[in-house]
Symmetry: C2
Subunit: 381 residues, 2 copies
């Protein structure tokens, strides 16, 4: 129940544990192209999609490295740890990060973004972490996409803990780079970064004055290799981790069978149930409902209890892993993931029960069953 | 029997198919640090080792990106496809690649390197592909390391299809970056790039005038994060593909149990047996014995037979995958891997038998059993 790497279904693990297939040849090309088409449906896009062997941060860097030249201004929101990562990446590519401070536990305010774009001229791109895994906040992706469109700037969205669990419309919401990894709502082990690339983004890359400094994450280079070797090795120049890729493909088919809307609804209901359960247990949510994520929930560590004791007891006594905060929320919040496999009564109810018993054990007053029953009512509704 | 991704043992596949563990926390730190120590033994080094989620090319770029500033000269040997990749990477980082042309199927000549270093002043680094997977040539790693030392230049070695199969002494041979991936002689699926980093290389990075342009493959950045989060997340800032990592760890233990020297001898004997078998079958080797790789063998496609027919028949009728050439050797050579799991009579003998039958089927005159028996005698010696 940690907010990623998330639980992987037994059938996916079996797929990954099969003998390794080669990352080239006609059969592979078919598998690869089919998978890209499935990804386009889940990304809700007709844009190009790249699968990069690496962690999601590699795709974050690919978007910045490929479009940002020294001195280019990038508006980076700082609603959490991963927003800060974009700032680091922009600066290491000698771009000028224009930071938008956001109070921890709060979401990006579209009005503030608009004001900033009016005040600070010449901004080329804006980054947004759609679902801040470090705080449990869901940012207003659609609204900011409208602003990006209005100002004609590139819109780079980290959808790492959102895509496949929360509605995210790459094309309708003007997202130029929609970035994710396999290990969150796509229910596959980590190892592959995914990003879509819009035609607007390609144009920016093609009209650079200063050539892209890089090879592995240089999207023009990747596209060149994809085209060059399309009939044999269509993923670009890299050796693809085929087992992870095959696992991902299986999950994508499962997602399409479930139906995107059904899946988004399931995550929404799971989040609602978890939040209500926390309140019923007397705990205080870290994020207010209107901006709370549907794939993870963050709760304040109750007074008089140590976060470390909660995590250890949950793990040792009830075989349930949950996470603490990171960065500014370290030691202050509990984070519980409900994404993909775990956005289900079979995972949520036992985890809530374990949390109730853990808190009682740690002398925090909780009525056993209060959280579980509240969640059950919502999940069954 | 392709020269990678190579066969993965059943027990490794089972390890990889286990439930995914998190890439942080005290237990993970222990696993991670143990694995790094095992890697140091296999790299024959006391230098730092980084495990980067990505294909081996990502570590190739990490070495260049971190040390080469615009205008810096790098001697790149062009004995095959992966040498050419180093040239591309150097140039995309605005370094000046000083190419050393090598006839396809031949090895780098240390005398020519020495001459070039005398003639072309100010060379900062030299790249070498120790075992050119695209041709089956083993380059003189030790000799070139002595020259690198003599001239005080950085020595970047791509050991992708060598490390864990061929003796490669990172420290004794002055290798500043020893780079490999999991999917060759380390018998694990692709997905992780590995590189060692010498103290000389760190000094070069620390004394750059122009800061490193990059984040994900910026070794100073990785080291900073490794130190910052050493007790919790020691691999740096990335989410580690833990299943592949756990598979690698299992293989590393197996390698140490086998013994490094025993393992090198096994690969040497396997290569010798395959080469002798090819000659006994009347085929012509592409590379002369003195520079032939111990982990793959390349053979000229016999006159009157089509490479595609050989590969397809082997695959369809005998369930055995072999590979053709790439780049300048495309269509001209057959490449057979014997690395890790497949450097064994249980794999080599059936594959040779399949090749004999395939050639007979394609009307090329081969005495059935000629290759197999020759190889068997050597393998049993």
């Amino acid at each position: 129940m940690i907010p990623g790497p998330s639980e992987v279904a037994e059938e996916t693990l079996r797929e990954i544990g099969k003998p390794v297939i080669a990352h080239y040849g006609p059969e592979w090309v078919k598998i690869y192209n089919e998978t890209i088409e499935l990804l386009k449906k889940i990304f809700q896009t007709t844009n190009d999609i790249f699968v990069i062997p690496g962690s999601s941060s590699s795709a974050m860097e690919a978007s910045i490295e490929s479009t940002i030249e020294p001195g280019d201004k990038v508006l980076v929101e700082l609603s959490g740890n991963f927003g800060l990562r974009f700032k680091e990446i922009v600066e290491m590519h000698q771009g000028k990060a224009v930071p938008l401070e956001v109070e921890v536990g709060n979401a990006v305010d579209p009005d503030k973004v608009r004001k900033m774009l009016k005040k600070e001229t010449g901004i080329k791109a804006m980054t947004l972490v759609s679902n801040e895994t470090s705080t449990g906040v869901a940012n207003p992706v659609k609204e900011l996409g409208e602003i990006a469109q209005e100002y004609g700037i590139l819109y780079v969205v980290d959808a790492v803990s959102a895509l496949g669990g929360i509605d995210l419309r790459t094309d309708d919401w003007n997202i130029d780079f929609c970035i994710t990894g396999t290990q969150k709502c796509l229910e596959t082990p980590p190892g592959l970064a995914l990003t879509s690339v819009s035609s607007k983004a390609w144009k920016v890359m093609e009209s650079r004055r200063d050539p892209i400094r890089g090879w592995y994450l240089n999207l023009l280079n990747l596209r060149r290799y994809c085209n060059l070797w399309a009939d044999w090795h269509p993923q670009g120049p890299e050796t693809m981790p085929t087992p992870t890729f095959m696992g991902l493909r299986l999950v994508l088919k499962k997602i399409m069978n479930e139906g995107l809307q059904q899946r988004f609804d399931r995550h929404k209901k799971s989040a609602k149930a978890v939040r209500a359960a926390m309140r019923a247990m007397g705990l205080e949510l870290f994020v207010r409902d209107e901006i709370a994520s549907n794939t993870l929930t963050s709760v304040k560590v109750p007074l008089g209890v140590k976060l470390g004791d909660i995590i250890t007891t949950m793990d040792n006594e009830y075989n349930t892993m949950i996470a603490g905060g990171v960065g500014p929320t370290q030691g202050k919040i509990i984070r519980i993931g409900h994404m993909g496999v775990t956005a289900s009564p079979n995972y949520i109810l036992p985890a809530l029960s374990a949390l109730e018993k853990t808190l009682v054990k740690l002398n925090y007053p909780v009525t056993l069953g209060s959280g579980v029953n509240t969640a059950k009512t919502i999940l069954e509704s």
